[in-house]
Every structure is written in C-alpha cells, then in structure tokens.
Amino acid sequence: MTLESKVPAGPLTEKWSRHKFELKLVNPANKRRFEVIIVGSGLAGGAAAATLAEAGYNVKCFCYQDSPRRAHSIAAQGGINASKNYQNDGDSVFRLFYDTVKGGDFRSREANVYRLAEVSEAIIDQCVAQGVPFAREYGGQLDNRSFGGAQVSRTFYARGQTGQQLLLGAYQALERQIAKGKVRMYPRTEMLDLVVHDERARGIVTRDMVSGKIESHTADAVVLATGGYVNVFFLSTNAKGCNGTAIWRAYRRGAYFANPCYTQIHPTCIPVHGDYQSKLTLMSESLRNDGRIWVPTAAGDARRPEEVPESERDYFLERKYPAFGNLVPRDIASRAAKEVCDEGRGVAHGGLGVYLDFEDAIRRLGVETIRDRYGNLFEMYERITGDDPYRTAMKIYPAPHYSMGGLWVDYDLMSTIPGLYVIGEANFSDHGANRLGASALMQGLADGYFVLPYTIGDYLSRHMGEGPLPTDHAAFGHVESEVRGRIEKLLSVGGARTVDDFHRELGRLCWDYCGMSRERGGLAKALEEIPRLRESFWRDVKVTGAGEELNQALEKAGRVADFMELAELMCRDALEREESCGTHFRKEFQTAEGEARRNDEDFTHVAAWEFTGDGNAPRRHVEELEFENVVPSQRSYK
C-alpha cells in the first residue's frame, strides 16, 4: 500500500479552502442517520464530539476518567498559539506556519501546518465565545505573551491553567450536547480494541471499568483522540492514566504508526527525588523567560547554590547559545542539560538536575514582579520540593513530555484504515520532529473544531444508507473474544513482579537508550532487551483481582503490555532514522559543535510502520515530504 497524503493541489494558501469546497457534504437531514464513535474527551476529542453533535451527527464519546472534564489536556499550563497579530509585532499565518515547520526541523507536512496556522485564529474566537477567561489587558483586549522562545507574542493564556480552561470550554460544549441527547458519554470506559471489517473501521470493543463488562460499540466511523504515549518512559509529565492502548490496538489492526521515535523531552521539570517516584511535574516553560540556568563549573560541587560564587558558575545555555540564551527550543535546552549532568556537574538527587535561578531577576525586577509573574509556579514548586524559589535556586531536569509521533493520517486526518480518523496528540500530523510550546493545544482544537468536522463528512457521504455493522456480527464477536482472552491471560499469569515494577524497568530502558540522545549500539541493545522484558512480563507479572470488577491493577497491566510492544517500535524507528532531527538526536549524526545534523537527502520523509503480525518485523513505509514554500535550513540558535 502506498501512502496517499491526499494533500490538495494548488497554492499553499488556497489548499484548505479549496479542499473544503471539494469535500462531499452530508445534508443536514442525513447527518442524524450517522453514528460516530469518538474515543477520548480531551481538547481534540471533546471539541470534535461537541462539534459533530452540533452539526447533527449522533456521537458516542469514551474516556477512561470518571468525567470527560479530566482528560489530560487539563494539565497544560502555558498557553495556546494563534496568529492573530494583536501585538502588531509582525506575526501572520505565514510566520506561524514557518515557525512551526522550522521548529519541527523540517519533518512535517507543509500543507497540514499551513492549515493549522490558518484556523488558529478561529480557535481563539470560538474559545472566547464559550467563556474561556483568557488573560486581558486593562483596556479589555486579549493579552499575549511570547512563549518557548518565539520571536513574537502570539500565545494566549489563562493564568497557568490554559489547558484547563480550554478543555472546560470544550467539555461544557460537550455536556450541552449530552443534555440534548446528541452525545452519549461513556466515562470510565476503556477502548481495548478496534473492529475492522471489509477494510473499514466499524467500531470498538471496550471494558466498563466499574463492572468489568466487555462490550461492543458500532458506528459509521471511529475517531481516536486518545492523546500521547510518552508514558512508555514510565516517568513523564503525562497523567498516570495516559496510554498508548487505543492507537496501538489500531496499529495492530492495520493503521500505520508514523515516526514513533519523535518524543519530546521538556527541559523544565522537577527532578526525580527517589525510587518511589511516580511521575514528573512540569514547571512552565515561561520560567525560562526570567530564570537563568546554570551548574557549578566543577564536578561534584556539593555547596548550596547561593554559596557558589559567580565565577564558579557555568551558565551553559547563555555560553553556548548567546543569541537565544536560556530561551533556546526545548530539545536543545534538554540536551544541553543532559550533557552537563553527564559531565558530573549535575545537582539534585543522583546528579540529575540543573539550577534555574531567579536571583538576578529578583534583583533586577523586584520580588513583587516575580511574584506576579510566577507566584503560583513558585508555590507549586515549594509544595513539591519543600524549597522556596525566592530564596534558593530551583532545580530542574528534562522529562518526557509529548509525542510528535502517532498514527499516520492523511490530510483529512484519516488513518490507513478507511473510516478510522485520528486527531490531537494521537496522530503524527503537524509537529514534525519537535513541537513548539503552546502548539499542541492549538492542534488539538484545530483538529477537533475545524478540520475533522469537515473531512469526516466526505467519508460518511460515501457510505450513505449502509448503516453501521450490527454488534452481533462475527467481526465484533471475534474481537471481543480476543479481548477477553487477553484479560484472562493477564489475570492468570500469577507471577512475582508488579505491573509498576515492569513499567519502571521498561521506562528506564527507553530513557537510557531512546531518550534525549540515542545511538546505534544503545538502540540495538534496547531492541534486544525490550522483547526479553516483554517475555518476562507475560511470565512473571502479578495482576490481582478479577476481570468483572473495578480493577486498577488490570487496567495498568493492559496498558503496560501495549507499551512493551510500542517501545520496541519506537526504538526500531529511532535506529532506522540515521540522522539527527529535532528531538531525535543520534550521537553519530552531529556537527562539530555538537548540534543535530539532519540528513535531508535520505530522510526528508515520514516513516510509517505497518504491523505484519506478532514475531514479524514491522514494515517501514515512507511518505516523502516536499517543501515548496520554505527551504529547509540548519536550525541555528547561536
């Protein structure tokens, strides 16, 4: 099968409007004849469910939390980008497009990114209309800030809780449709498999997480909006429940998985403090606007930060990247921190941390200004660590944060399985090899509010009058029994190690060999160890309780079992991509100064993996990327 990106012809700026015109429409009376399943109620899923229901479709929406309002999008702090150019600082659709393509190190599809930038403005309008309390100027206009090193101020924010407010906007729109009976919500319901029949997605098989009941749900189309998979690293900034199960099961049913090795490591997280650590907390990137990052010049310096004299401090980002200093993109900041820690100059538990220091900023701007800007972040930091950042430097360390990789989708956001759409972080679409700050929220909402609702109609209109496959069809029965078999198998291993124990080990492998920097030898090693670990998981895991009840151990076990497979694909992809680009840094491919060196000749493409059966090597397909509007250049932040 060749990968058809279905990018419409014509000039970049007209592609989307022309495409919207060419897409087949479903007339209003017919919309209510269609059922659409949406798995996920985050920004992408929530927005899509509400919008499709408003349009008249019947929607079934699923999430694993007890309420759609708790989807992981809620945790986003910093903000959302849009090319409104309210600040009159030279922003435009084209600049947002360009920054995103460049930030992604020229590994994304131009047309998709342009469309994203194009609809970004409508997103802000929509959210404001819903009552999202964005920050305002005294004149009553929307406030913006510059974020993640952007040269323009295009980030809209609601205190440090932007994701929460955007999600609540979508959630409220969703609840409105639930009240109208257009959406049926299934909280605490986990999708465990996809049903494909006649080469089309027909529905899903779920487990009711309270009663344990396995059920089939049928629809005319299935949309996955299940978020990212960086919990494969065990420790990450993602919520504990974030998982790769939905996309992994879809992959095993025939959807291609694109660029699994593109995982973003966020530079400013609170370092690990012990073996019992269960997750890592992100400290907003905005801290880098005023904080200075440093480590002691000498390895093993055990003094408190305020006791280290200026001359014995190495402000390594300012030293290496004089132009951008502490505001270099995430991948570069993370790697630089790792380097100094590898040299033994790290601070915090196990030498895995660097200082983020506000001493200068407080001296320059005064405590009050700093409190105004970062007060709630400082409080959060103190609550977790017990240290007061007004008095002593914060300690930070990079942590896995976001997955740019995901299921491959075409311009219409449809996967390689007809009728299966993938939106939000779950797809691979817009961020290339690295995502810019405040762009994930934008993409999730773009997909959910403004792209999918158009493109899905085109597919549905082609299947008018066919109706969903009945759930008593053999295709459902077959998948259901597979799902049951797997659960029984997990419950019957009766080994001696807990699920978390395995997950932690898997995470360590991924972090060591497929984390911030990667190399052939390490990846090869990981590819040997992961299957071994997986095998021992199925031999030695201990899952207590029964299937027909609320059983958190079982939930976790299923997710970790899938991560065990996903991790292998991630490492394989990292091994095959013999270049460094964005967050994917291969030690073998760097410039003399230690910067990432792309190989445009051989790797200006998307790698999309096809499942070929257990025990067989997956097949790698490529979608060539063409750059007609921007010229790939070496990213330079010196």
Binding site: Q65, G274, K279
Partner: protein, 250 residues
C-alpha cells in the same frame, strides 16, 4: 517515617465496607501522599492482597481526580492543596492516618476510595455552558472584558471539580462547585444572555442530588483552588433575581 494507616476498603458499590489497618515503616518525607499509597499497594500486591483502589491521574492538582478524606479533612491538612500535591513531610513520624472516600448520597462508593461523581456532570448539563455552536463566534477582541472581571471570572473558573466541597460540607452541599460555574459565566458578557435560565437549571439539578448551604464555609477551607464562598453569594443573588423575574405561571 513510620505510619499507621486506617483505610476504607469496600469491594463493590453494594458491598459492606470496613476500615483496614496497615503499618508502613519506610515512608520518606519527600514522597507524595499518593506515592506513599503506591508503595503500600506494591507491598499488598506482592503479598497477594488486592491493592487499594483510589482515583488519581494528573498528580499535579489540576485534573480533580484525587479525592481522599484524610483524618477527617478533604485532601488533608494543607490549604489550597489537592491530595496528590500533599507530601509526607506534612505528617510526623508515628502518625495514624485515617483515609476515607468522599461521603455523599450523590457520590456512591464504587470501590475502596473511589466514588462516582457523575452528579457534577449533571449540574453542568443543566446549563453550565454558553450555547454557542462551533463556527458561530465573533472575532475575539470584539468582546472587550475588563481585566478585573476577567480575573474574577478566572478565580471562579479555576474549580477542578474534585468534589472536596461536597465531601467536607456537613450538609453535603455542592454550592461551591455550582456557584463557581454560575459565577464565571455570569461575570463574563458571553454568558449573560442565558444567565437566568442557567442559574435556575443548575440550582435545580444541584438540589436534586445534594444538600443545602448553611454557610459553614468549610468548602472554601478545603478547596484545593481556594475558591471563595463569595461566589456562593453571587449565585444566590443570580438565582433570586432570576426566580423573581420569572413570569408567575412558571
């Protein structure tokens, strides 16, 4: 640190529950409260017992999943702190901790410490939104909103829907949760056209499942976002205005 835990265990919604006692003697003060439970759960699992079920997800105080009554206080002793942000350094060596689920007729226990908070979604369904379809919005800066109003609306909007207000309230009232949403949308111009309908609907939905407010103010004390009971007053005002303006036939 050594700790003694008394934890509510209940296998199914309709089963009887009871407190079970556990001793932990290797608790690090740096651990979060939920990590302490993780450690206990690992131990239980290895010993062949079932781990304690509790709700959690983000573990950074924003998703509103975590919901533990700790020594008689929702989310434990620290102000403005969700259970997941609570760290063991708050407690002393040798402490006994009693851990219970939220208790409310509207929040039935599903298992151990997990309850069903679906009634909150019901309150939102009754009007906690602005009726605007995707695509019908006007240009964002056409609606100027003063900074003080925007800030006040944000104070209310910060609610994470955890249910601590209900859990702590001697009356099991959901006033703070409901009032936060009613207020946010009443303060902002976008929410004004529907304000009467909204408050009447939401209050009715609230009172179907929850108790009434006696102005104890304990909700504010335990709210992880420290949302002010001033918003409850605002909701009351909204409600009275809407009810009195209603045509008599209604």
């Amino acid at each position: 640190m050594k700790l003694h835990l008394r934890v509510w265990r209940q296998r199914r919604p309709d089963a009887a529950g009871a407190f079970a006692d556990y001793d932990l003697d290797d608790v690090s003060p740096e651990m979060s409260f939920l990590e302490m439970l993780d450690v206990l759960n690992e131990r239980l699992t290895l010993g062949g017992e079932e781990p304690i079920a509790f709700d959690h997800d983000c573990r950074e105080g924003i998703c509103g999943s975590c919901s533990l009554m700790i020594n008689g206080t929702a989310h434990g002793p620290n102000r403005g702190t969700a259970t997941c942000q609570l760290h063991m350094r708050t407690f002393a060596d040798g402490d006994t901790l009693r851990i219970e689920p939220w208790r409310s007729a509207a929040f039935p226990v599903l298992r151990d410490l997990i309850v069903d908070r679906g009634a909150f979604d019901g309150i939102i369904q009754a009007g906690g939104f602005v009726s605007v379809n995707t695509g019908s919005a006007v240009e964002a800066n056409l609606i100027p909103i003063g900074k003080p109003e925007a800030d006040l609306a944000m104070d209310a909007a910060a609610c994470i829907g955890c249910g601590a207000c209900v859990a702590q309230c001697p009356n099991g009232a959901a006033q703070l949760f409901t009032a936060a949403k009613v207020s946010q949308l009443a303060i902002l111009p976008q929410g004004r056209p529907e304000r009467a309908r909204r408050v009447l609907g939401m209050v009715r939905a609230m009172e179907e499942s929850f108790g009434a407010c006696s102005n104890f103010a304990q909700c504010e004390a335990v709210c992880p976002k420290s949302i002010s009971i001033g918003f409850i007053a605002r909701m009351n005002g909204e409600f009275l205005r809407a009810a009195l303006a209603q045509p008599a036939a209604d």
